[in-house]
């Protein structure tokens, strides 16, 4: 087998194993709940029959491994069970399937994440590469100081400053990003510009610094020195010698920051009251709606793992040492 294929397969297997382990952790968290949460969810007035029915519905009468397999297989098919909210002590069940809650919100979150990524990735790569090429210049120092400041500030601070400047003092953008399914595309882009801008500012800082460090690291390696010594032009050095080796670090940087986006999105959605998965998860945490929390955690963790997996695979596939084995 080609060494690239073998390494990729190995990495894929590791990714799947991690995903399964993570799903086990997320699943078993529910059994850490103190006492009988059937009573807690349904309220004090619930009769023993309704509690017993609720326990049966959750499958608490079955052993944990069986429950895990059932939960995981149905989660893979997109069924995350039903929410805890909307259940009454009388046994009346107005709860909604978790999928119905998450589905439209997941689209909103993805929209926001893609929007932010489309602005931030090219911008960060440009800033990072130019700062590395002209390092220790005034330009480099200015970019560095600016990014250090945005890294150290919490996301909600950046968000509120943007609201203060661009929504309150100069009403250019709306301060609340309320979108519905019917909102037309351009209107949606306009309304989500402030959240996207906040996320951009936060990630560009990280991504730019990491790109800069990766490129500087690369430019210090002996083969770049060698290429320069043999008289290659600066452009040729970058394109023919540096770039083929830079894809792996750059892919890692991008994936790492898109994964960071996953986390940043929670806080930013809360600031702008944007109907996304992060907002849903925070609401579910306050009401202790465990099935929703589990589903959101699984989605976020899976995104995070898959993005890291993609970065690693890009790194393996573009690695010149593996592509041209001796």
């Amino acid at each position: 087998m080609h060494p690239v294929l073998a390494t990729v397969l190995q990495r894929l297997a590791l990714g799947v194993a991690t995903l399964i382990m993570v799903s086990i952790i997320i699943f078993s968290s529910i059994s850490l709940l103190p006492g009988d949460f059937g009573q807690a969810v349904l309220g004090q007035a619930a009769t023993e029959d309704t509690v017993a029915a609720f326990r049966r519905e959750l499958g608490l009468d079955k052993p944990a491994p069986v429950r895990y397999v059932e939960w995981f297989t149905s989660a893979l098919q997109g069924d995350f069970g039903t929410s805890f909210s909307g259940r009454a002590a009388s046994g009346v069940d107005r709860s909604r399937p978790v999928v119905d809650l998450i589905g439209p919100r997941l689209k909103n979150t993805l929209f926001l994440a893609v929007y932010a990524a489309l602005i931030s990735v090219p911008l960060a790569l440009f800033l990072g590469i130019t700062a590395a090429l002209y390092r220790n210049s005034i330009y480099d120092r200015m970019v560095n100081a600016a990014t250090l400041t945005t890294i150290s500030t919490p996301e909600f601070f950046v968000a509120y400053i943007l609201i203060l400047l661009l929504a309150s003092l100069n009403p250019i953008f709306p301060s609340l990003a309320n979108v519905t399914i019917d909102t037309p595309f351009l209107e949606r882009v306009y309304r989500t510009s402030l959240p996207a801008l906040t996320l951009t500012l936060v990630i560009v800082a990280h991504m730019m610094r990491m790109t800069r460090a990766a490129i500087i690291n690369l430019l210090a390696s002996p083969y770049i020195e060698m290429a320069r010594l043999k008289g290659a032009s600066p452009r040729e050095v970058i394109i023919k010698h540096a770039l083929p080796n830079a894809w792996a670090p750059i892919a890692t940087v991008i994936a790492f920051n898109l994964a960071y986006l996953v986390v940043g999105v929670v806080v930013v959605e809360a600031v702008f009251v944007y109907p996304g998965v992060g907002q849903l998860m925070v609401d579910a945490v306050t009401t202790r709606d465990i099935p929703v929390v589990q589903a959101c955690a699984l989605i976020f963790a899976a995104t995070y793992i898959i993005l890291n997996l993609i970065a690693d695979i890009v790194g393996i596939v573009t690695n010149p040492r593996l592509l041209h084995p001796r």
Binding site: S29, S152, T153, L164, V271, A297, A301
Partner: protein
């Protein structure tokens, strides 16, 4: 450094025979500087950014320590006017139920920093301890711990913290324990990585041969040699923990009212920002606690940067 040496030599020489003698200079006892003097000399060489950072941290610590003396009113004392304007009585106005914002900012320093500090210490105790054990032991314990921590680190920590908080509830103690455990994974990685190279040194081997226990080897042989990266990491982890707690409180699942905390203060007063066009001061009020968080993080980062530069620079010299 050289000026001190000659000075000492000169005084020694003067006492001996009043004139300069090379033999006296060489033979003179070199005065060893006390620890305090060495720290002071190091501090004098610190750049402006580090000085700025240390001053800010010192002020924050003083405010946190003497909060009851500095705050004009009580932490949860309610006044009749909610969302009161900035005036002489309430310098930064009052919040949504009429509590003095300045007093809550001051008490918030104590609560937010105290909880973050305890959490960071706990995470270093867990992560550092396990990391050292794994580095020394290098057997199946190391394998199991490392793989387990790889898996824990595959879940974004804010998401993991949210999930655990939904299970254990948002009390201060569960907040501290959950974040400390999640954060200790990073500490474990670093401690293990730096301790592995020290654990194979001859003097560690010698200590084990003369029969010292695991605790001795950890504390007396390895720990002193991996201190600089750990101290720097402590600063960075503190920032991270501090920001995580602030984010969780901001989301409403961290430190609960009536305890004053910067993250939840931002959330509570956020609606004031809409009035910035009419009254800029009111619009800035929710940004004050956020700015306090940002300033502390920047300050700690400056000090850590300088410390890392200094400790790695010292290593280059030798």
């Amino acid at each position: 450094m050289s000026s001190d040496k000659t000075q000492a030599a000169q005084s020694a020489g003067a006492a001996a025979e009043e004139t300069y003698s090379a033999a006296a200079e060489v033979g003179a006892v070199r005065k060893r500087r006390t620890r305090l003097e060495r720290i002071w000399i190091g501090l004098k060489k610190a750049p402006l950014s580090a000085w700025f950072g240390m001053t800010v941290i010192l002020i924050y610590c003083l405010v946190a320590l003497f909060a009851p003396l500095l705050a004009p009113y009580g932490e949860a004392q309610v006044f009749p006017v909610p969302y009161g304007p900035w005036d002489a009585e309430h310098i930064f106005g009052t919040d949504q139920i009429g509590r003095d914002v300045l007093s809550r900012l001051i008490y918030g320093a104590r609560n937010t920093m105290g909880i973050a500090l305890v959490t960071t210490f706990l995470s270093f105790l867990i992560g550092g301890g396990l990391g050292l054990v794994a580095a020394i032991n290098r057997s199946w314990i190391d394998q199991i711990l490392s793989r387990f921590i790889d898996i824990l680190m595959a879940i974004p920590s804010l998401i993991f913290a949210l999930m655990l908080l939904s299970i254990f509830g948002s009390t201060v103690s569960s907040l501290i324990i959950i974040i400390a455990i999640l954060d200790s994974t990073r500490v474990f990685r670093l401690t293990r990585a730096v301790a592995v190279s020290v654990a194979v040194m001859d003097y560690v081997e010698a200590a084990r041969l003369r029969g010292e226990g695991l605790g001795w080897v950890m504390r007396r042989e390895i720990l002193p040699n991996i201190m600089p990266p750990l101290v720097a990491e402590f600063g960075l982890r503190f920032c991270f923990v501090f920001l995580t707690i602030a984010a969780l409180s901001f989301l409403g699942v961290g430190i609960q009212p009536p305890t004053a905390d910067w993250g939840s203060m931002v959330r509570d007063n956020a609606s004031l920002i809409q009035f910035a066009q009419y009254d800029l001061k009111a619009g800035i009020t929710p940004l004050l606690p956020a700015a306090a968080i940002a300033l502390l993080t920047v300050a700690v980062n400056f000090v850590v940067d300088w410390f890392l530069h200094k400790t790695s620079g010292l290593r280059d010299e030798h």
